[in-house]
């Protein structure tokens, strides 16, 4: 604090509180809507801003599926969340595993073609899935991977950022550790498993938070490779719930699904906040 100016301090808090309210408002509205019946939302415009008391029913219908008030069928969100969880874990852990291995190879070995391979990984930074959707879809389809977990996750596993992050980290590991391991008669894999991986724990945690969110929040890719309702991740399944027309939507169930869809990544961010911030700053360096 450079100087004491009570008025300025007041303004700062005011701006921050306003910011927090604006940022939180959409979620508050969503939460409230998910505790009302769809008739309440559609008929009493504007909807009431107090909790509606139908929370349990709405979440039960959303979670386990059931009949909607318009006679349509609501797909169970529970199975979609399961798909999301499996995909997010496969993507994040898969990325970490293959990147640890390749970063280890790049830093601790010298082999012909090392430069070319490194350059190839670097180039993938410039090709986000969005710019090559159709050809990638064709490859996945030719391999018979549509509507499978492999199709949902494997194309998203390759990551240059994770490889670079681990490479940077390995370069800071003191050489003496390698020498000590050698004298003790440990081979490269022994060194990797017993020394390098345990040392990388914080980087792994940081990367896990970022990549879990990345995996959970995928939308475009699942939209292309899944046509079977049992393979919809929740973030994408939400879109399928729109029947069309404002009034005909089962808004309360959609809003409950939205809450359920944002809960797991939000929990991961809040519980692992320290690693999250570290991960964000480091993956972008």
């Amino acid at each position: 604090m450079v100087e004491r100016r009570p008025f300025l301090t007041f303004v700062r808090h005011l701006v921050l509180v306003l910011g927090v309210i604006v940022v939180g408002f959409p979620v508050y509205v969503t939460l409230i809507a998910s505790t009302q019946t769809s008739q309440q939302i559609v008929q009493q415009v504007p909807m009431s801003m107090a909790p509606g008391g139908h929370m349990l029913e709405t979440y039960r219908v959303a979670f386990f599926g059931g009949d909607s008030s318009y006679g349509g069928r609501v797909a169970p969100v529970a199975s979609m969340m399961w798909v999301s969880l499996i995909s997010a874990l496969t993507i994040s852990l898969g990325k970490i595993a293959i990147s640890l291995l390749s970063a280890f190879a790049f830093v601790y070995f010298r082999f012909p073609g090392r430069g070319v391979c490194f350059w190839m990984i670097f180039v993938t930074l410039m090709l986000p899935v969005e710019v090559r959707i159709f050809p990638t879809y064709q490859v996945v389809s030719n391999l018979g991977m549509l509507n499978t977990y492999a199709g949902l996750t494997v194309p998203l596993i390759a990551s240059a950022t994770a490889t670079f992050l681990f490479r940077q980290f390995f370069l800071t590991v003191p050489d003496e550790l390698v020498e000590a391991a050698r004298i003790d008669g440990a081979g490269p894999m022994r060194f990797f498993v017993d020394v390098l991986v345990p040392l990388s724990k914080t980087s792994v945690a940081a990367l896990f938070v970022i990549q879990f969110i990345y995996g959970w929040n995928q939308y475009l890719w699942p939209l292309l490779v899944t046509t079977d309702e049992n393979m919809y991740p929740v973030v994408m399944g939400i879109k399928r719930m729109f029947a069309g027309g404002d009034a005909a939507n089962e808004w309360n169930v959609i809003m409950a699904t939205a809450i359920l869809a944002m809960l797991p990544p939000a929990v991961v961010v809040l519980l692992m906040q320290r690693w999250f911030v570290k991960g964000l700053v480091e993956t972008e360096k």
């Binding site: 701006v15 940022v23 959409p26 790049f106 969005e130 390698v178 994408m236 404002d246």
Partner: protein, 295 residues
């Protein structure tokens, strides 16, 4: 930091085994599709895939003469400028305020960073609900203020809606980076200026803002990339590219033309154009971020 290790292991086969999984994935899912996109962009295929002919740069020429594609370029430009400018200004304001707060700083930070976890698709749904013309709470309030909100009919309303959703989702990211940037500015500089009698306002524009320029530039590039590519889900859930094609950004058009209209050559040519844009942005980012802009 050393670029190369002094001590290495020796094995002629192990490094290949170690990089094999990563190389296999990038070859199959990155290089094959990228080459295929390049190849398809010079072919013309009918919708059933029964006949294909080589047409050279015909697909690109068609794009160049296609008014909807040029309009989509304009839409994307307007959209990304709005998202970047609004997102950065709001986040910078909040970060500057949070940087100097003593009490409750950690709580504000926690309460401001969680939207990062919200999927763009979910963000689109939340904002769509608030602004739904017949049931939305905000659209109702606007109507009582005399503004007839309907993003299904009014292109400006639709654009405003997706910009708000996109900015909301990105604020936490920008906020964290601005806060980190602010906290790395030496306090002595600011104290010196305060002793010389500079007001907080003056101190911000003459000291803090210039010193923050590397962060700002970095975030500018990241936000443009975000607006170009990651906002597909927001557009798809909130407006479906409508009304008409007024909010169909480039990525949305690639998707639509390839998967809905089945114009494979045109879609591939659009992919190639997008690749060129990403490569340009990435090169820009690396050149300037490496140089740390100016101090």
């Amino acid at each position: 930091m050393a670029i190369e290790k002094r001590v290495r292991f020796r094995s002629w086969w192990l490094p290949w085994v170690l990089i094999a999984p990563q190389m296999a994935i990038i070859l199959v899912f990155f290089f094959v599709p990228a080459v295929q996109a390049l190849y398809q962009s010079v072919l013309q295929q009918d919708a059933f895939g029964t006949s294909t002919e080589f047409v050279g740069f015909e697909n690109f020429k068609r794009l160049w003469n296609d008014d909807t594609y040029l309009a989509s370029f304009k839409t994307t430009a307007v959209f990304s400028v709005l998202v970047a400018v609004c997102g950065l200004s709001i986040a910078l304001l909040l970060a500057v305020m949070a940087d100097r707060v003593v009490r409750g700083a950690a709580i504000y930070k926690t309460l401001l960073i969680w939207p990062y976890a919200v999927a763009p698709a979910v963000a689109g749904v939340l904002w769509l609900f608030m602004f739904a013309p017949s049931v939305g709470i905000v659209s109702y309030t606007l109507r009582s203020l005399g503004i007839e909100w309907n993003h299904l009919l009014d292109a400006n309303h639709a654009m405003t809606l997706i910009v708000m959703a996109a900015v909301w989702k990105q604020i936490s990211y920008n906020f964290l980076f601005f806060l980190a940037g602010l906290q790395s500015i030496p306090k002595s500089l600011i104290e010196a200026a305060a002793i010389d009698g500079a007001t907080p306002w003056r101190r911000f524009w003459t000291i803090v803002f210039p010193l923050l320029s590397p962060t700002t530039f970095f975030l500018l590039v990241i936000n443009v990339v975000y607006a170009f590519f990651e906002t597909f889900a927001i557009v798809d859930t909130a407006t479906n590219g409508g009304p008409g094609k007024e909010t169909a950004i480039l990525v949305y058009k690639v998707y639509y033309d390839g998967f809905k209209a089945l114009d494979l050559g045109g879609s591939a040519a659009q992919s190639v154009v997008l690749m060129i844009i990403v490569i340009t942005l990435t090169v820009l980012q690396f050149r300037y971020v490496e140089k740390k802009v100016q101090y």
